[in-house]
Every structure is written in C-alpha cells, then in structure tokens.
Symmetry: C2
Subunit: 223 residues, 2 copies
Amino acid sequence: MEYFEELKSTKIFNSATEFECQAMMFCFKTRFKTFDKNQSIIKQGDKMEDIILILKGSGNVENVDSLGNISIVMQLKKGDVYGVESAYAGDEYYKDSVIATDKSLVLFMNKHRLINPCENRCKRHDLVIKNLMRLVAESNIKLLDKLNHISKKTTREKLLSYLSSVSEKSKSNYFEIPFNITELANYLSVDRSAMSFELSKMKKEGLIDYDKRQFHLFSNKLK
Amino acid sequence: MEYFEELKSTKIFNSATEFECQAMMFCFKTRFKTFDKNQSIIKQGDKMEDIILILKGSGNVENVDSLGNISIVMQLKKGDVYGVESAYAGDEYYKDSVIATDKSLVLFMNKHRLINPCENRCKRHDLVIKNLMRLVAESNIKLLDKLNHISKKTTREKLLSYLSSVSEKSKSNYFEIPFNITELANYLSVDRSAMSFELSKMKKEGLIDYDKRQFHLFSNKLK
DNA sequence: ATATTTTTGTTGTAAAAACAACACTTTTTA
DNA sequence: TAAAAAGTGTTGTTTTTACAACAAAAATAT
C-alpha cells in the first residue's frame, strides 16, 4: 500500500495494520496530494469537505480578516491535523487557509466519514477517534500557549513570553524559532517594523541575541 | 443515585444509564462539591489530580501572570469540562484558576482514570471518551474565537469583533454579554479604563448602545 | 550569475494604549 | 438598612504602537 510507512508514523494511524489502514482509506474517502513550498493546501472560505493530515513537510494555518491583516494562527507539523474542531462544530466553510511551508505530502479525509460512527464497522475507527482526541488536545495546548503570549500588553512582553516558551521546550537558552521575523510578527499580532525595532533594542540591552532564526536568551538578565 | 439527573443532562454522560454512571463514578474516583459565587474551584499552581465537570452554575478560567495581570481565558458553563488538554499533555500543576461565577456544583474526576483505557472494562468508558472529544473540540473553537478577537490591533476592533460574535450567536442585534465591563477587559486583554473610554466613544458615535450587560449593535453603521 | 522579489532594520510621525488618580454608582455584606 | 467593597466612567500624562517610507540585505527565480 502506498504511503503506509508515512501513515504508520503518525499518532492517528500509528496502531493500525496495513490492511486496517487500507480499509480506513476507503472508508474515509481519502486522497493523497503533494504541495510545493508556499502553495495553498486549504483556502479560507472554500467549502469544507475534508480534514487534513500532514504526512510530510509542514504548514501554517493563516487567517486574513476583513481589513486584510494576516494572522498566523498556528503551525502544523508532520502528523498534525487541521479541521477537526470545525468538523465537530458543523462549519460549512474553512475559516483559515493552510499554506505549505515546505514541500509537503497531505492526506485529505472526508470529515463526515471520519468523525461519525462507522456504518461499515471498520475495525479501527474507534481507535482512530481516540488518537484524534490526543491531537485535538495538543492543538488546544498550542492555542492556549499562543493566547498566553498575545495576552501580554507590550510587544516586549509578548516576545519574551514567546521566546521563553520556545527556549523551555528546547531545554536550552540557544534555540531556533520556526518563524522568520515577518511570520513571527503575524503570529504575535504586532506590527512587523515595531517588533523588529523592539528586537534590536533588546539585543542592544543585552537581553537577547539573535541571527536569522537562531536566538540566545540571556535568562539571567530577565530579573 | 445522587445527581444522576445532572450527569444525564451533560454531553459527556448523556448516553449512560444510572447503573453505568454509578460504575463510572467509582471508576473515575469522583467527588461532588458545591461552590459559592467567587469561590475558587481550582487554584492555579495546585497539583493537578482531577479533571472537572460543571454540573450546575458556571465559572471563569483565569490566569495570573508573573506581573500580576489577570486574564480570563474562557468561561465554563454547565456541561463544560476543564483540564482535559492538560491531562493529555501530562501537566503536573494547574495552569489556571477556575472561579465560580455562580453558586455551582462541580464533579471532580481523577485525570488518569478518565483518560486512560479502563482496566475494569467499565462498559461506557469508550463512549465517554468519544463524548469528551466533542467537548475538547468545542473548547478549541472557543479559543480560536477568542484568538480572533484579541489578534485585532485596536481596542475598538477587539470590541467590535467580540460584540459581533456574541450578536451573531444570539441571532440579534440586542444581546447580553456574559461579562461585566471589568471582566470583558480581562478577557480581551486590554486596560479596563481605556476600554471603558472606548465604549463610551462608540456609544457617542452611535455605533453601539449599552447598559450594564445589555448591548445593542447598530450593525448598519459598521460599513 | 544576474535580475527580481522578498525580507529586514531603521526612522519619524501620528495614533492609540496603558497607567494612575479620582468621584460616583452599584452591589455585597454584616 | 447602613457600611463596606467592588465596579464604572472620566481625565490627563506617559509610554507604546501602528503606519508609512525607504535603503540594504537576503532569498528566489531566470
């Protein structure tokens, strides 16, 4: 079966055999599709038919509001899904776009087939739902994390909250962030130039050092 | 069985019989507890043992950061749970407080017992997990909603984004918000006095009208 | 390898927000 | 029902932000 190895390595299909996977692929009416960097995997406003699973590569969930402001809602890595909450909420249209940030392989699964109890009684469906639960819980954590950062009043506080959290996750004061500067500004919902200015200021003050996506946080200076 | 009616009316236990509920109460090592308005149901930083379910009343999930700023993360209503994501993430301590906003009845369920496959093979456990999934998905939606509001640049935009969303949900331009003014400021992460000032300004401009928690949105004026 | 596009840092200016202080109102409590 | 506490609206001041514009650097495409 094509792509079985990729499926096997995700949290959602991890415990299924090749045969079971094949049955589910049929049951969920799946399609595999590849995307180049910067291609749209999902377009905000399009009719929502599928829940997607990233099998290779990565993507950004982006939202454009009525004034044209772009916000990066969250990032998707290998094994992540997008659309589960919306499917449960019964949304008809995608509320965000998903843009590939690398060459990517994506699995599209029919949302009704995936979240509703299976008439075909395909053996592993219940287990997949259980696995999905863990993924949705993780997505929740990501959102809470982001909320924590952007709830801060000043740009500096937002930056420090974000950088500290990445630093903590990587268990080091030296770490790489998964955004470029422009994207980080969109993620933190601040003006890019103002943020860039604030970063330089923090560098001058000896709070942080950085080059491209590489950061060093002088945590001893953060009283 | 005590409180069976309350359990029955929640999404998570909705499909279980009294006997099954009783078994699960034992299996999840549950405790029922009542709270007065403004009492702490959960204290940020306390050891996390339980996932809670609101059976009567309501509560606010609040987070206090290192600078003392209070943020209302989300609201919990009857049938809502708190702590599922943290349990999956393996958090040891509660990351937020939950404060009763009414006289409330709360069910405490041991987190390990709830989220792990059941050795006792208690019949309905799988179904409960599936129901839980829907709740976590809903909580996800709430967070995305909030994120949408506070990602806006100005206080006015935040207010309009929030008020529009409440208006939409209540399908009317006249609606009641579930916050007082101070709480709304904490929810939107803006300064209370500045927000109060902005609200008056919007009232003067004829964009909105309000009194206490009652709002009227003149949507025709919002270009 | 060169041209083109995108990203980045910097600046000045105008707008908006936070903060602090205070009087007044409403709600809670004893 | 009186006293205390909590919530609200308003104001002036200071700090911070957004916005616009531009040059330089880096990344991408041809």
